[in-house]
Structures are given as C-alpha cells and as structure tokens.
Symmetry: C2
Subunit: 532 residues, 2 copies
Amino acid sequence: MRRFAAERARKFLSSSLRSSYSYSSSSSSNPLPAAAAAAAAAAASTAMSSTISPPVTVDSINPKVKKCEYAVRGEIVTHAQRLQQELQTSPGSLPFDEILYCNIGNPQSLGQQPITFFREVLALCDHPALLDRDETHALFSSDAIARAWEILDLIPGRATGAYSHSQGIKGLRDAIAAGIAARDGFPANADDIFLTDGASPAVHMMMQLLIRSEKDGILCPIPQYPLYSASIALHGGSLVPYYLNEATGWGLEIFEVKSQLEDARSKGITVRALVVINPGNPTGQVLAEANQREIVEFCKKEGLVLLADEVYQENIYVENKQFNSFKKISRLMGYGEELSLVSFQSVSKGYYGECGKRGGYMEVTGFTPDVREQIYKVASVNLCSNISGQILASLVMNPPKVGDESYESFTAEKEGILQSLARRAQALEDAFNNLEGVTCNKAEGAMYLFPRLHLPQKAIDAAKAANAAPDAFYARRLLDATGIVVVPGSGFRQVPGTWHMRCTILPQEDKIPAIISRLKAFHEAFMEEFRD
Amino acid sequence: MRRFAAERARKFLSSSLRSSYSYSSSSSSNPLPAAAAAAAAAAASTAMSSTISPPVTVDSINPKVKKCEYAVRGEIVTHAQRLQQELQTSPGSLPFDEILYCNIGNPQSLGQQPITFFREVLALCDHPALLDRDETHALFSSDAIARAWEILDLIPGRATGAYSHSQGIKGLRDAIAAGIAARDGFPANADDIFLTDGASPAVHMMMQLLIRSEKDGILCPIPQYPLYSASIALHGGSLVPYYLNEATGWGLEIFEVKSQLEDARSKGITVRALVVINPGNPTGQVLAEANQREIVEFCKKEGLVLLADEVYQENIYVENKQFNSFKKISRLMGYGEELSLVSFQSVSKGYYGECGKRGGYMEVTGFTPDVREQIYKVASVNLCSNISGQILASLVMNPPKVGDESYESFTAEKEGILQSLARRAQALEDAFNNLEGVTCNKAEGAMYLFPRLHLPQKAIDAAKAANAAPDAFYARRLLDATGIVVVPGSGFRQVPGTWHMRCTILPQEDKIPAIISRLKAFHEAFMEEFRD
C-alpha cells in the first residue's frame, strides 16, 4: 500500500507538464511575444549544444522530501481532477455530472457559507476607510463595525498591512487567551499563543524543534491525519504508531500506547512527544475526560510532550460527549507548567470552516524560557502569520455575545451548520452501516467517517492484480462510478489487513440522499462483481 | 560577532516570561477562575512531588534550530520593544519620545498607506455579499467591483474560504503568468507558479528540496538577507559565501563567485544553487544586464540552480538602472527549460508593502516533471497559501490599467510612494556620507542603505569590553540615544573586520529631517567619546 500511496500525483503532473516541459529545449507551445522572437536564433544554437543533465533530479533531492507522503491530496484527487476536466470538455461522457470531493475537510468548497459576522469584520479591517463612511452603517452590522474598530485599535498604527510581532498581534493574542480562559475556566496567557497560517505550520514548527534524527520518535495514533506522518518524514524523525481500537469506537488505550513506547525505546528510539487528535481525524471519536486524564498522567510520567490537535473542538455531534481541552484537563488534575503541552487550533474547522484564510494558533505551555525563545526564533524567521488569519482566529475564539446586534443571526448560522453536520454524519453513518460488509463507528465529532470495508477475497485479488491496495482499488472504482472522492484508509495507515476509507460529512444536506443512493448502487454492484 | 548575534532575544524573553513561568509549580499570578480554585488542593500535592527534568531542554532540541540565527528580529529589536514599553509606562523618561523601527522592511508599520484599489478588491472578496448591494457602488470604485467579480468567478464556487489547489487558484496563477509575460516579453505558464504565504516559505521549500546534509552548499551573497542563512541552517546545509564588492557599489563579481565555488568543491561540498538578491538586500544595488548574463551563464555551466530573489523588482530609484528578471535575461540569451531557475516575488515589498497579507509566489522553471511533482507534494502538505494573499499577488502583477476608473488615483498613490522612497533614500544616503568615518553606497533599489562604519579603535575596544561586535555596540548606543533601530551589519555577515548597519529608508518623509539630525548629533558625540 505504501507503494501505491507513493505514486501520488505523478501521472497527473507528468501529463499536465508534458506539453510545456521539454528538457534541453527552449521551445514553447505558447505564442511568443515580440522580444522572444528576437532571441530565437540564439536559442537554437545555445540550447542544442547543451545536453548535460539537469542540476536537480529526483535522485539528488533531499531524501526526506522523497519519503514524505500526503494522501489527502494524493493520486485519487488528481484522478478526480482529470475526471472533472473531462466533464467540462465532454459533458455527459461520464456516469455522473459532478465530482463530489469528500476527500478533504474543506466545507466552503462544498457550498457551506461563511459566517456573516466574521466576514464583515474582515472586510472592514481590510479596507478601514469604509469605517468613515455613512453608507457603511447600511451595509454592516453595528457590532461588526465596533469589533473592527476594536481590532484596529489593537494594531500599532492600525496597520493591517504591516508585519506583526512574530507570535501575532499582542492584542489579538490577549483576546484569544481570554477566549481560551472562558472555554476552560483556567487562565491563559497571551505570551503562550503563537498565531500561525493554519495549524499545519504550527505542527511543523514543533516537529522541527523536537526531531534531531531518525532516532527521535513521535507517538501518533493510527489511523492518523497524514500531516503528522508527512511532517515527521520531512524532519527526518520516526513515527511511533499506536493503534486506536476500532472495536471500542476508536478507543485510545493507554496500555497500547505504553507498549508501543516501550517497544520503540527498546529499539533505541528516544520518544519525544505524543500526538493526540481530539476529536479524531480520520476517526471522529471524542475522548472521555477519564481517558484524557490517563493520557496527561502518561505524558507526565514518561516525560513526553503532549501535542494536542484540537482543531475540531467545536465539531461535536452527540449529546453524551463534550470537548475538553487537554489544558483544562491537566489544570483540573493540578498540573501547571510542569506538563509540556501544545494545543493546536485552526480557523479551518469548527462551524466556520475558513480553510482558505489560513488562520490558527498553538498554545504552548510547560516549556522552559530558553526553549520558548527557540520557538520564537523559528517563528520570527517567517516574520509573522497573515493578519486576516490572525484576526479571524481572534473572532472564532470570541464570537458575538448575547446583546450584540449580530448575536441572533450569528447563532442561527452557527447552529444551522452544526445541526446540519450532525444530521449528515448520522445519515452517512447509517448508510455505510447498511452496506453489505461495511461497518462504521459513530462520528461523534470532527468532519469524517472512517468505515471499515470487509472486502471479498476476489476484490482483494483484483486490487493486487491492479497493483493497488484493496481500499485504494475500491475508492478508485467508487470515483469512476459515482464521482464521489474518498481517501483510501491506507493514506492514514490502519491495522494491517484491514481496509477503510475516509469520507467527509461535508456535502450539502440536499445532496446527501443522492450520494447515499449512488454509493449504495455502486457498492451492491461491486460486491456482486467480486462475490467469493 | 556570532556569539553576540546568537544572544538574540534571550534576555528579553527570559524577563518577560519569568513572571508567568515557574517550572515544577502550577501557581500563576493571574487570578484563577472558579474551576481552577477547585483544583488547588490536587495541584499542591501533584506538583510538589514532581521534580524530574522537563522533556525538552535547549540542549535536547534539534541542533539545527539552535544554530539558526535571524538578526532582523534579534536582540536589538527586543531591546527596542523594552524601550517602547518604558516610553508607554513612563513618558518622558528617555531622550526621545518614539521608537523608529528602521530595522525591517515593513512600510505600513511606519505609516505608508495601502493602495486603495487593492484593499477595495480584498474587502469585496472577503464579503462578497456586498456586491449585491446598491450602497456598494457609492463606496467602491467600479473597477474594484468588476475585478472582485472577475476574481470570484475564477474561484470554484466563489468560495474564498475554501482551500485552493496547493499551487494556488488556477485563474489567479493565469493572471500572474500574464503579468510576468507582460513584464518580461516572454511567455509564462500558470503551472510554473506556486503561490505562497510571502516569499519566505517559498525559499524554505526550495532549501528543503535541495539540501540533503551539511555537504550540500548554497552560494549566497555576503552581505545577505538572513532568511537565507537561517533557512540553510534549519535545513542542515552549508552556506557558501561570495562577497559583494563594496568598492564597486556592491558589485557581484563572477570571479569571486567562481573562486568560492571551487573552494567549496575542494572541501567536498556539493554546491547546489546560487542565490542572487536583485535589487540587493541589504545592499540596495541593481544588477546590470551584462552582469545578469554572466550569472546565468555561470549557473548553466556549473550546473547550479539559480535562486533569484526578485521581491524588490518594483523598487528602483535611479534613472540609469532598470529591473530585469533573470527569467527575461535567460530567455533573451536563448535559454529555456534547460536552466533551473526559481524567481521569488512577494506582496510585502514594491510600492504596495503589504507585509501583513503574506502573499507571494515562486515561478519555477527548468525542473524535470518528477522534481516538480516533489515540490508540489511539499506544497500540498500545507494545503495552500492564504487566499487573500493569493488575490493580492494577482493584483500586484495586474494593477489597474489605462481607462480603468481607479487608474489615475492608483497611479498617483503608486508614484507618490515610489518617488518619496527615492527622495528618502537620497536624503539618508547623503546624511550617512556626511558623517565622519561613514561611507554609504547608493540605494539604487530595494528599501535599505548599508553604510560602512569606520570606527575608532577605542570604540572597537569598548565594544569588545561589552562583549559585543563593534557595529552591534554602535547600533545599541544609537538606539539608546535616539530611538532609531537599525540592524548591525554582523546580522547579514560582512567582510571580516568591516562594520556596517542596515537602515531602511521607510520612515515617513516628514520625519526624515529629524532622524537625520538625531543621527548626526549621536554620531558626533559617539566619535567624540571614542576618538583615538
């Protein structure tokens, strides 16, 4: 399955580049502007005489880059993009009329509308001259205008186009700290917040800090969000897997984590950190408080940094579960700065789903001042994260409050999205569980279902013959038959010999019935075709 | 001088964190919310019993992180921030009443206003609902409205909050390619464009691709912009220095580059790429076409990737020079895809100076499809750059044209800024050259002057006694006396035994006379104090 994942975008890129790329030739299929024509003669003689090999080949690049894999945007997606082009150029040529991207947690790409209040504030901060105009009061809510003023007053010189402090604008970090304190019931400190362009750069920053060589390991859940495996590979470390228990709703069992830790240590690996994704990606479970307490205790005892991916903290769909941050749990347990804890948050998820804005932060607690200084230094090399993303991060942690003009409409938008996501999760979960040979745990939170495919041997053999992992084979057939894009479980890793797929719950609600009937028809035909 | 630079932010961070940080203790100076109080008893017993060392110490982090230095936001800046706080809490306590940050190319932080048309378009794209309202026509120019519609139509589903293609939105890349083609007179291809959160992540991406170990070298100009030394250190490679010739206006001399290349090769270093910064940072020179041709020929002959930092392409202040992209020069020479060339561009510089928006791109030509696929993969791990930055990158490469409603006001804003920058550069250059023992080359472009300080031996001795490089000593004294923040030349590297400082030309024009007189008074006193 590794080999399959590694093939990724190759074919697509090769074909799309072939037309424009031709080594040792300066010709181009684009029409040449005037200046180019003048250079044609020179081109001919110079280029022809030169046949030395290029300075960079795929064998001479950094092997860590080569090793890195990222299935969420992998081969299946590039194939989907090909099919989409086909649909555009020859409508009606395929058995479906649109591609449904269920591969990635990208809500607005599937029609989710942004939260009005957030966008009002962003627009006003982008163009503060609007705030001086009368017409603006007809176009924007009064609390958006007030909030924009507040934010501008937090920014030195009201300069939304200036680099900020490398951790982010201090006043916005204060606002975020206040939002965290309100969430957790424990204080938070603006000095602990590092604003980042989404959560991914924050994760990279921590991996870069912690990983010295392949002898350094990071404990990651399996299945995992492939950002972690990719980042660990890019930084040259070792992913130490611990398996979530599918039979107990993707339970995180400490004895499994401990056993993997000991196994890694016996192989000479220095395990530096434990990654926990809560709510789970791709698995959708929400951790119980007792379980979180075990995890905190374990990290403390074993001297591990706890890397808490909490980007789905607002995506909870079941009555009997709630989100607790690891910071809150550790503080409830009486731990303070003696636990090294990093919490990642993003504006891309939640009910807001503002992926394109690239906003997020990490809250870093329990590191010595000299280590914190090193984190600050790495942040400073990239100067700062984008200011709109910073502003948005402050907004999602401090949305409108009771009494604000926007409060009711904001709440209606927010609840509408979250309730719809819960219904979609339930409908898709039921649909998967109604398919022959498919079992699916509840999506308690996050944006995904991760159903298990119990495939007939014949299908497994056919996949082998096609040089594909069985779940990749299934996903490809699903895409070709229905236009639905899911990510094969192999992209997230899974218990060897089990097969899954990750499917987001994000298509708009009115499309869900059609998706389910297409899925059902495909699955029945697939099982019929490969019945043992 | 290295030691000095390495001390960076330590003192500042230590002192600012000390109050909130206390290892093996969960106490906090912040008032505790209710939930926290409940945990107090547990805290006392748990925390007290735990005295093991933290999981991460500065000696156990990635040594590449430790090695990395970034002077532009280094010790001098943290000292300036301290003074700024002092000014706020005790006005009148210092011999100046404001800090003037001349350490970083951050125009809007010093009062430069954003270009209206760009901000109009950004605001409309942030809140597209405005486009349906009548009042909007009173608030926005008609071409900004038209442009916003055009851009929204380029984005699938008009979803400005969705992740885009990992290289950036295809239609925006088409627009940028058209802008490049118009600039160069040679075609450009959207498939070659990778949109990024400013130029820095693009530089990191190329370093990550090229550097396998410390045996891989990257040729960099000295003095250099410290992003390069920082990125090379973070990726574990070797910076191979080539010295710019101060005596010829920071001339880039091929025999020097060649000699350094050969020297590095003789030490077993595989030199992979040549960095050229044009216009120069921190040195401000603009390369002549003949010089650029030599550089292209050299890279081609020696099998080096040419990494062209062209972020100051719109910042040219002298009549007898113009910006030529390396792509244009190489195409004029007849080279096409057989030259591996990466051009970096940013929305942070030029006349727009939109640093906080974190937009930029790299144009990647002359790499084989399988290497390009690897670059794409690394880009995909971070999903995409922020959409506002992407939009802004398309705007700076395609500003309003003759006939557009905004054209005249846009041109007035643009020319106003560029002409003022040219006047400021000239005024500061003259001022430096009028100081005893200071010589300063012309700022032909970019945003900096890099005057040389010929310091008296007594000053050098005093610096040594203070455990500082002489230019850092001078810069610190300058800051303490005048509130002017410059970066010591040692942060950029320089010919050993020479001393410089980098000073931006960005303070608003009405402040320049006061800056010059403060600078002059300080310098005279300094020279008087340390006269040999």
